[in-house]
Symmetry: C3
C-alpha cells in the first residue's frame, strides 16, 4: 500500500453550486493545494491559488471588487487570471506578482476545478452526473468530511461486497450479495459495475411485494466520481436481456439515480459529495426523504469503518493489502490512476 498518486488532469468536485453565494470567496484545499473560488456579482466563476504573493495571507479572506479579488491584509488586487492589478502605495507592479489560476466550471449542480495543465481543461471530460435540477429525478443531497485519504473512499465505492457487512443494517444487502461478484468492465477513464439480482423481494431501498429481477449499475470514473442507477423489472428481464443493461422504460419500480464524488483535500482528508433520489415515475419527495435517511445511516457506517481503517494504516510501518476476488474493480481503477499519473509526471518532466 504505497502512497498512491492522483490524476491531476481531471475535474474535481469542489462544492455544491448552490452553496456558493455571489461575492463570498470560498476556500477549499484540493490535492493539498489551497484554492479560493468565487462567483462575481455578474455570475462569473473564478478560482485562484489561495495565497497572496505579498506575505502569503489567504485570498479567501479577501473582498470581491467586480471581477477582481482584493487581499484584505494590505490590499493587493488580483485579476481573475491571477495577475496583480494594483498594489496600494506603489506604482510599479513586478512581473512575478501573480498567483496560479485554476479552470473552474459549474455543471450538474457541482463546482468543478481542474487541477492539471489549464491548456488541457476540456469541459467534455466532466463526468455526466445528474444535477439537482434534472427534470427526471427528485434528488436529495449532502456532503461529509473524512479524516481519511480519498483513495480509501474510492476503494470502498469500487467494491460493493462491503454492503453485506458494513451496511447489514442500512442498505440491507444479504449474505448472498457478497457471495457472488458483480460484473466489472473497464470503460473510458474508469470501470463499470453491473449486477442483476434475479427472483428477489429487493433490498431496503427497493422493496417489492412479489419476486422480481432487480438491476443496479454504476460507472466509477476519474478522479473519483460514481454515477449509479438501477431499478426493479419483471421476473425474467435479466435473462431476457442476457444480463446486460435493461430498457429502463420497462422498469416497474425503484428506479433511482445517485451521483457521488470523492475529493482529496489534504494528504489524509477528503470531502465526499452525494445526491440520491427516485425517478419521477417511481417515487416522490417522501420517497427521496426515505432514501436520504437510509443514505445518512449508511454513509456514517462507511465513515466509521474507513476512518478506523486509516488509523490502523497510519500505525502500520509497512502496510500491505491482500486483495480478494471482489477487488477486481479496485485493482483495475487504481492501476488506471497510477498509469495516468505516471504519464502526467513523465510529460511534466519532459516539458521541464
Amino acid at each position: 500500500m504505497p502512497v498512491m498518486s492522483y490524476v491531476r488532469n481531471a475535474w474535481y468536485v469542489a462544492g455544491w453550486s448552490q452553496d456558493l453565494a455571489a461575492e463570498k470567496p470560498f476556500a477549499i484545499t484540493v490535492l493539498g493545494e489551497r484554492i479560493v473560488i468565487w462567483r462575481t456579482a455578474a455570475g462569473n466563476l473564478h478560482a485562484l491559488e489561495d495565497r497572496c504573493v505579498h506575505r502569503l495571507a489567504p485570498l479567501s479572506l479577501g473582498r470581491c471588487e467586480g471581477e477582481r479579488l482584493r487581499c484584505m491584509y494590505h490590499g493587493l488586487l488580483f485579476d481573475p487570471d491571477g495577475k496583480v492589478a494594483e498594489i496600494p502605495g506603489q506604482e510599479l507592479i513586478p512581473a512575478r506578482a501573480q498567483v496560479r489560476r485554476y479552470p473552474v466550471a459549474d455543471r450538474h449542480s457541482w463546482l468543478w476545478v481542474w487541477m492539471g495543465d489549464p491548456a488541457l481543461a476540456d469541459q467534455g471530460l466532466i463526468p455526466a452526473a445528474v444535477g439537482l435540477d434534472h427534470p427526471d429525478y427528485i434528488l436529495g443531497h449532502g456532503q461529509l468530511d473524512y479524516a481519511a485519504e480519498a483513495r480509501l473512499i474510492n476503494d470502498n465505492l469500487l467494491d460493493f461486497s462491503h454492503l453485506t457487512f458494513v451496511h447489514a443494517e442500512s442498505f440491507g444487502a444479504g449474505p448472498q450479495f457478497a457471495a457472488t461478484p458483480g460484473r466489472i468492465t473497464p470503460i473510458e477513464r474508469g470501470i463499470r459495475y453491473e449486477r442483476w439480482t434475479e427472483n428477489s423481494m429487493g433490498s431496503s431501498s427497493r422493496r417489492s411485494e412479489v419476486p422480481m429481477d432487480s438491476f443496479m449499475s454504476y460507472d466509477f470514473v476519474i478522479p473519483g466520481i460514481l454515477l449509479m442507477t438501477g431499478g426493479v423489472f419483471p421476473l425474467g428481464t435479466a435473462k431476457a436481456c442476457d444480463y446486460g443493461q435493461p430498457d429502463y422504460s420497462k422498469a416497474v419500480s425503484g428506479v433511482t439515480f445517485t451521483s457521488q464524488a470523492v475529493t482529496p483535500m489534504e494528504g489524509k482528508t477528503a470531502r465526499y459529495f452525494f445526491s440520491w433520489g427516485p425517478h419521477r415515475n417511481h417515487g416522490d419527495e417522501a420517497q427521496r426523504d426515505l432514501l436520504m435517511g437510509i443514505a445518512a445511516k449508511a454513509f456514517a457506517e462507511d465513515k466509521t469503518m474507513i476512518e478506523a481503517q486509516q488509523r490502523v494504516i497510519d500505525d502500520t510501518p509497512n502496510p500491505q493489502v491482500m486483495p480478494t476476488a471482489h477487488d477486481r474493480g479496485v485493482t483495475l481503477f487504481n492501476r488506471l490512476v497510477e498509469k495516468l499519473a505516471r504519464e502526467e509526471q513523465r510529460e511534466q518532466s519532459e516539458a521541464a
Copy 2:
C-alpha cells in the same frame, strides 16, 4: 533519559475482566500494537492483532460468530488462532491470510495479554494481584488514562518519597516520610519496598488514636505491577520483628491491599489500573469508599505532575535526570527492565 525498552515476555494488564461483555470485541493498544480481545458466548477469551489482512480495517469493529471473529468491512472470517477461515466470494484462502495471535488470560479480575513469544507464555508469571472477588478484602477499583510514557508512572510508583510532596494534601505523609528512605530489596522480576513508621498517629488512610507502629510494603514487578499491603501494629512491633515483615494476624487496624498496573499503550500514552480496600477484619464498604475517595484525589495529583513532567521532557532536547538517594528502587527496576529487554532482543536476533 534515553528511550527505555519494555520487556515483551511479560503479562500486561489489558482491562478489567468485568468490563468485557461476551461478544463485544474490545480494542486496546499495548506496546504500540493494536490488539482486539473478545470473550465468546461460550466464555472463551481470545486476542488477535487488530488489523485485517485484507485492507487493514480493525477487527475490533467486527462481529463474533461462535469462536470466530468476522471483519465487518468485507467479511473475512478469522479463527481464534488468527487464520482466515472464510473469504466471501472466494474459494481459495492464501496461506499468508493470518494475523498474529496473543496469549490472553483472565486472572485476579484483570485481563492479561502476553506480548512476547507465545511459546513462553507461562501463566505462572502472572503477578499475584488480589482480585475484586478475593474473600479477605473489600476492594474498590478504577482506571486512568495518561498522556505520558508508562515508564514515568513506574518511576513514580518506585519512589514513594513523592508522597510527602505530591500527596501532601491527600495521603498526608509528613516531611519525615521523605527524610528517611524505605528498605529496597531486589526480588524475582522486581523490587520490594518495606517501611516501618514507629510511634506515629498514622496517615490520612491509617489514622490511629494512640501511638502505634505502622508498616507498609509493596512488590513492584515486571512489567509494571504494584502489589501493596500494610497495617497498624502495637507499639514495639517494628523492633520486635527486627524491622522485617510483621505477622498480619497481630495487626490492630488499617490492613489494606492495593493492586496497581501500568500498561504502555502508544509511545506516550499509558493506562493505569488500580484497586484498593480494607481487609474484612479492618474495615467495611464505607471504609473502602473513603479510601477510594482519597485515591481519586491522590491519583489525580500524580497524573497532573507526571503529564506535566512528560511535557517538559518532550520540550527538552537531551533530557538528563540526576538521581537521588530515593531513586534506588527506580534505578534497580529500570536496570532490570533494560537487562531483560536487551536479552530478549539478543535472543530474537540470534533466532533470526
Copy 3:
C-alpha cells in the same frame, strides 16, 4: 521567508505585573524556553528554568518557601539563583544540581525577563512603556494568545497600511491611508513611524467636528515593543512643525497612548500584550472603554488574518514574500534583528 532568529539580549514581556500574586509560581515559555517566575511574600521577583534537575518536573508546580522554590514532585529546594539548597533524604548536593536563572524586572506594569547573557542584563534597555499607573493616562489593558510566530505579529505592527484593509470596519482608516506611506526612521534598537494626516475629520478613535491635522507616531523596538502616541491639532500644525513631532501641549483632542508587546513563546505561538487609553486632558474612563472596545474588535481582526497567514505559510513548501513600498519598516526592523542575532551567535561561538 527563512526561519528568523530572535535577539536574546533583550527584555521580553512575560506578563502583567498585577496578574502575578505573591507565592503563586507562574509558567511561561519564551523563545521556546520554559520559565517559572514567582514573587515572594517579601515582594522579590525571581525567574528560573522551569525544569527540575532531578526528574524534569516543572518547578511551576512547586511551592514557595521564603525566597526559595520547592519542586513538589520529590521535594528538591531551589535557591533563587537556581542552585539546589536541599535534597530530601540526602546529605550531599552535587555541584551540577542547578538550573538556569533569568534576570527579571517589574517595570511599567509589565514583568520583563532577560533571555540573553545575565551579565548584560541592563535594566536601562527596558523600553519606555507607559504603565497602567501612569499619572497622565487612563489605560485599559489586555492580552491575546496567537497560534502564529511572533515575527508575523511584528510584521503586522511594522506596516500600518493594513489598517485600511484589515481594520476597515474597526479603526476606520480610509483608502487614502494605505495610498501614502508614513515616515520611517531608524532609531536605537528599532524604527520610528510618523504620520501627519492634514485637513481631516479623523478616524473612529479620533473623530473631529471640524477639519484638523492629526498626528500619530510610534517606536517599534527590540524585541517587539510598540509605543505609540498621537493626537489632533489645529489645522496648519503639520506644516508649521514641518511634518515633525508636534508640541503635545497644543493638542486640541484625541491624545492617547498605547504600549504593545509581542513575546515569542513556542516556535509558532506568541502572546500579545497591550494597553490603550486617553490622556487625562483628552478623555475619561468612558473614552478608555470606547477605545478598548475598538481595540478588541481590531485585534481580533489581526488575529484572524495572521493565524490564517501562518496556516498558509505552514502549507507552503518554500514560502517567499514579495515586499512592497509599505514594507520599509518591516525590512529595516527585521534586518536589525538578524544583524543583532548574528552578532550574538558569533560572540557565543567565540566564547565557546
